[in-house]
Amino acid sequence: MSATEAKPITLIEALTQAMAYEMRNDERVVVLGEDVGVNGGVFRATAGLHAQFGSDRVIDTPLDETTIAGLTVGMASQGMRPIAEAQFDGFVYPMVDFIVSHAARMRYRTRGRLECPMVLRVPWGGGIRAPEHHSEANEAIFTNVPGLRVVMPSSPQRAYGMLLASIREPDPVIFFEPKRIYRQYKEMVPDDGEELPLDVCYVLRDGTDVTLVTWGAQVKEALEAADKLAAEGISAEVIDVATLRPLDFDTIAESVSRTGRCVIVQEAPKTAGFGAEIAARLAEESMYDLVAPVERVTGPDTHIPLFRLEMKFLPSVDRVVEAAKRAMQHG
């Protein structure tokens, strides 16, 4: 076992560290995907794993996402714990059938006879000046699917702890990785094998006037917006949803019960994105707490454009600030 290193690491390094930890401790764990082997993944998430664990544990696949998904389900249902990598968000669509029709219901349809403990890692979202089909915020493809867990960590520590928990989880986890913040900043992440829960939202900043709820890369925008708002005397609470499914609505509701206002920040296009679920829960369960209409700050209802324009698609700090101020005009 490698010694706990005492230097801060990035989010993507935290992912590598988590995989290596669990591979050392559970030989059922294997990694598979395109270019995950010698190359260490196009983002380097699996860097070093092939050298450390060999070709029977770190497996390059033929170039086909249906294949990756199908093999993963096949292996998981026979007692392995595969971690599959989708090279980019835009390439998960061919995996949808196996995820929805098999992974998400292997346990259910066999009454527990077979299970499907797998993790699908998906580098997620825009903002890295990538080519076409490499920048999709498509979590809503999975959030209405029963039997899945859908998570999206947004810090090195949460990435480490939540990936460990996802690998250990006996049911399938869709693990979105906000690639824009893969290397945004470093944090101390002790390699202690401590997992984090897969059913809680994180309050990253306390506030009293308005609750900013978001996940993934937009956590940064929300925190910056909170700074700006503070400068104008508005106290914003910031919540990182972290696990979309199952949603820890209690944490959000509790916050809104104090602030009375909620701004949901979502990278995906607005209509029927996951933010709608949070707004819906507020409309059902927090109506009497709300003093202002719920606000959604999202991508527009179009495809994320190629990179010359993509930053105009993504929710900006300014738009979050404006929405919060609009909310402040009520109540």
Binding site: V30, D56, R57, I59, T61, P62, D64, T66, T67, G70, L71, T72, V73, G74, M75, A76, S77, Q78, G79, M80, D97, F98, S101, H102, R105, R107, Y108, R109, T110, R111, G112, R113, L114, E115, P146, G147, E169, P170, D171, D199, P246, L247, F249
Partner: protein, 357 residues
């Protein structure tokens, strides 16, 4: 002309439709006595089939997919596997499954609209029935890969139909099994039809066996109505797989004598004459003739065995019909090993609602 590659695909047939042998029988299956238990198994399946269809017709079963005409293929497959191998069926390979320990009542429960049908008491590692066509082939490739990685002496066997051989999942299975030299046997049960779509409309390939060439798999075509050909083809394929030589696509030529399922009406799209012809080539007649000629089977034995089959099936039908519907909470259970709190709340609410109703 410089050749980049060349290929030949063998065709196996040992027992003609008339029950006479064709060429020399393979070593392993020369003793007709050894075929008797398999013939009995085929008779059992046929009995089960006809009773299941009746159950459906009288409203006691949902849509049912019969295996009529496929008995040699299915039983031959079942007979070729070890207990700890893994079988990935489509939805009508009862012959193979019964030999692996699946219970007839489970088949009925499944088509009767009850998830417990998939909770096979016998082969705990086998895949459940797979309605999404050929996805089972790719899961089986994953299983085969996991056997190879863990150095387990096990083989994965998957079945799909002629229609299923068009499915991208089938291609993904053979491509990846080929890439990893994984111990996979893909059985394409070519019964001529995919619901209403005839074999020739599925692909321009002259055989379905040759699809394996695309992935570097071994390819074989057998008379799927000839139990011996199925057994010999499977023996070769399973041995190859077990010895690390890689996977095989084996096409079994048979015919779907029944409608696609009880929800189908094949007269809308297929000629009576074709079906009639199908009946002259079906698997039981020839095997019965062969075994009777060999003196290891008789009409009396058959009568007695069929009576036994009927009794056995009736017991299974009773067990099915007497299985109470699952309580409402069944639709929440087994969704997650660790169900989220919200789901448990929904579960409680559903139970409470039942209590009130």
């Amino acid at each position: 002309m410089t050749l980049a590659a060349k290929f030949e695909i063998e065709y196996l047939q040992y027992l003609g439709p008339d029950g006479k042998t064709v060429g020399e029988l393979p070593e392993a299956f020369r003793d007709p006595k050894k075929l008797v238990p398999l013939f009995k198994q085929m008779l059992f399946v046929r009995t089960f089939d006809s009773k299941a269809i009746k159950l459906q017709r009288t409203g006691k079963l949902g849509t049912y997919a019969a295996s009529l005409g496929h008995e040699a293929a299915h039983v031959g497959i079942g007979a070729s596997m070890r207990e700890d191998d893994v079988f990935a069926p489509s939805y009508r390979e009862y012959g193979a499954q019964f030999m692996r320990g699946v219970q007839p009542r489970e088949v009925l429960l499944y088509w009767g609209g009850d998830e417990r049908g998939n909770d096979f008491q016998g082969p705990r590692g086998d895949y459940p029935w797979s309605v999404p066509i050929s996805t089972q082939c790719l899961m089986a490739a994953g299983a085969a890969l996991s056997f190879k990685l863990r150095k387990q002496d096990r083989v994965a066997v998957a079945c799909c139909g002629d229609g299923g051989s068009s499915k991208t999942d089938f291609y993904a299975a053979l491509n990846s099994a080929g890439a990893y030299k994984a111990p996979l046997v893909l059985c394409v049960i070519n019964n001529g039809w995919a619901i209403s779509v005839p074999r020739h409309a599925q692909t321009g390939a002259e055989t379905l066996a040759q699809k394996g060439i695309a992935g570097g798999l071994h390819c074989l075509q057998v008379d799927g109505n000839d139990l011996i050909a199925v057994l010999e083809g499977m023996r070769r394929a399973v041995e190859r797989a077990r010895s690390g030589e890689g996977g095989t696509v084996i096409e079994m030529m048979t015919y779907r004598l029944h409608d696609h399922t009880t929800a189908d009406d094949a007269t809308r799209y297929r000629d009576e004459a074709e079906v009639k012809d199908g009946w002259t080539r079906e698997p039981m007649i020839r095997l019965r003739k062969y075994l009777t000629d060999a003196g290891v089977w008789s009409e009396d034995e058959e009568k007695a065995w069929i009576a036994e089959c009927e009794q056995k099936v009736d017991v299974e039908i009773d067990a099915y019909l007497n299985t109470p519907v699952q309580p409402v909470e069944a639709m929440f259970d087994y969704l997650y090993a660790n169900p989220p709190a919200e789901l448990l709340e929904q579960r409680e609410a559903a139970i409470a609602r039942e209590g009130r109703a």
